[in-house]
């Protein structure tokens, strides 16, 4: 199983674990579409020109939250995310690997590296609140 980022040294990182459990990801389409899942390294490659290797690796994965409150909070705090909704997905080891990459304010932030070529948007759906 070739994972996103695996062409880089130590990516995904060795301490990433097999993907499992419920995660939340912000999407703009219902149902979620391929265009909702563009890794940061593709969206803004220049950001990573001089960044440390671990951040470049992280940019090949996707930001997901284990706690829906973190997803709702970041959506509330950033006008640029106001048109998104949290979509829920249940990950299994076949979905790649995941690592807790918390920030000071978003403790449940994880980075998920799925297999290259997997239709990952089909794993998620928007649940009505």
């Amino acid at each position: 199983m070739k994972l996103l980022g695996s062409h880089l040294d130590n990516c995904p990182p060795e301490d990433a674990e097999p993907a499992s459990g419920i995660v939340y990801y912000l999407v703009r389409n219902n149902p979620p579409q391929e265009g909702d899942f563009i890794p940061g390294i593709e969206k803004h490659p220049s950001v990573y020109k001089h960044r440390p290797k671990d951040q470049i690796c992280q940019a090949h994965g996707f930001s997901v939250f284990k706690d829906i409150e973190d997803a709702l909070k970041i959506k509330e705090e950033f006008n640029s995310l106001k048109d998104t909704e949290p979509a829920v997905g249940e990950l299994t080891p076949e979905c790649g690997v995941i690592k807790n990459t918390p920030s000071r304010t978003r403790r449940s932030h994880h980075t998920w590296w799925p297999p290259d070529g997997m239709k990952i948007w089909s794993l998620f759906k928007i649940e009505m609140q």
Partner: protein, 138 residues
Amino acid sequence: MSDILNIPELGELEIVEIYDYYNVPILFSCRNSVSHLYIVIFADHLPEYEMWLYAEVSLMRLNLIRSGVVDLHDAFSKPEMGRLLKVMIPHSNSTEFNSEYVTPDQLHSDVFPPINKYLNFGDTPLVAQANLVEIAKS
């Protein structure tokens, strides 16, 4: 090619610190080749563009923002220089990148962070230029 860290008015930028991240840094500080500092936010997502706002900041002001003395709303709605750089980055190559200086009152208030949202990075103050080089490279 122009992008978040390569802006005609500012030159090439290097990230100093990332304050919030969602697939990419969405709130961060950076500096240009002559060590001018900026705080930057992913301000809006439009059908054809992403809007990013850049506020030039003094080191003192940046430390006040980082430490939670100045809230993020004021960091962008009351910029020290009285203006922001509004950068529109197209989603596709078929649309053009553009950037222009604006005053805060030329923007819809929605694009600014909520009032009373503060950073909490005050445990380690940013220091003078020489160390910023090392921080940016770290």
